[in-house]
């Protein structure tokens, strides 16, 4: 007891309380400095890393399962054919590239600016015309159109396959390039109707265009396969 008294001094209680004050101060200070370092960016980046890791693991599983499955050459050709028809393969061939952009015309007073921007309906008309002219595969801004693809205005952007993109839009179609070009350029056709509003359309018939595959998910939650009925 005397030893402790010698170390801590005559009024050891004050020293003791001083230790506690220092303890509280540094604990609190340490906590404050730690709070600052954990920013939302760090949290999000760790989340991204984690998700990327998960994705890679799943990708590995897929390749492992695919290697186990050994189809015959006939089956492979059927699968490739179905994949091509479903839009899961990249395609190349002669076709057209159409670039569309919003009108550059200056608005007059009291005019509705909606008239001079590209809407989903304009794109739909264009796609419809291309399909009527025998387009075999179509993509919009790199998004492959498949049977379930939507073309829809999402605010000022366009949503295709649930992926949004902003103007300018680039529509690529594979087919007979002359008939595709003519279907758009014909008198009273889509191009004429849209040019009234100053929407810029540029059509280019090319010998070789590339169309990327569809890389989204297929979900059939409600549809079931049944026998054909008459």
């Amino acid at each position: 007891m005397n030893k402790i008294r010698r170390i801590l001094g005559e009024s050891w209680a004050i020293t003791f309380v001083c230790v506690i004050v220092g303890f509280i101060l540094s604990t609190e200070f340490r906590q404050e400095s730690e709070k600052e370092t954990v920013s939302p960016i760090d949290e999000l980046s760790t989340q991204i890393l984690k998700l990327e890791w998960e994705r890679d693991e799943l990708q590995k599983k897929i390749t492992a399962l695919q290697q186990k499955f050994e189809p015959s050459t006939e089956e492979i050709s059927i699968i490739e054919d179905l994949k091509m028809k479903a839009g899961l393969t990249a395609l190349e061939g002669s076709g057209v590239i159409i670039r569309m952009d919003d009108s550059k015309r200056a608005l007059e007073k009291g005019e509705n600016p909606n008239l001079y921007v590209i809407h989903d309906e304009d794109i739909l008309r264009m796609i419809n015309e291309l399909r009527a002219a025998g387009a075999e595969a179509i993509s919009i801004n790199g998004q492959r159109l498949i049977a379930t693809s939507e073309i829809r205005c999402a605010g000022p952007t366009l949503s295709v396959n649930n992926v949004r993109s902003a103007p300018p839009y680039e529509i690529i179609a594979i087919g007979d390039k002359n008939s595709l070009e003519n279907s758009i350029k014909m008198r009273g056709g889509v191009e004429d109707a849209l040019k009234v509003w100053g929407i810029q359309i540029e059509i280019q018939a090319v010998e070789k265009v590339y169309i990327p595959p569809y890389n989204g998910n297929f979900s059939h939650n409600f549809a079931k396969v049944v026998e054909e009925k008459f």
């Binding site: 050891w12 209680a13 020293t15 003791f16 309380v17 004050v21 220092g22 604990t27 906590q31």
Partner: protein
Amino acid sequence: MSKALGGLIVGIFLGYVLNIPADEKICAVIFLVALDAILGGALAKRNQKFSNKILICDFFTNIIFGLALIFFGNIFEIELYYIAIFIFGFRIFKNFSAFQKILLRK
């Protein structure tokens, strides 16, 4: 005086090394109680009335009372610990000014 400063440094070191997660309210109350105890002790020493036992006893009962206020404040959802902060802050200023007067008169 030097012993007290040494204690402060030891405390800072301990707090930094141990790194205990602590509630802000509890920290604030203990901090104020401790400051009050130090100033009160220094004043008592000047007046030749200093007693280690009284200081320690006072310190711990004050902390217990402050923690009780935080606890009940959390239950009633009223910030009752403001009472502790207010009273101890008041006492710190009072003790400090009394200390100042003694030093100036000397």
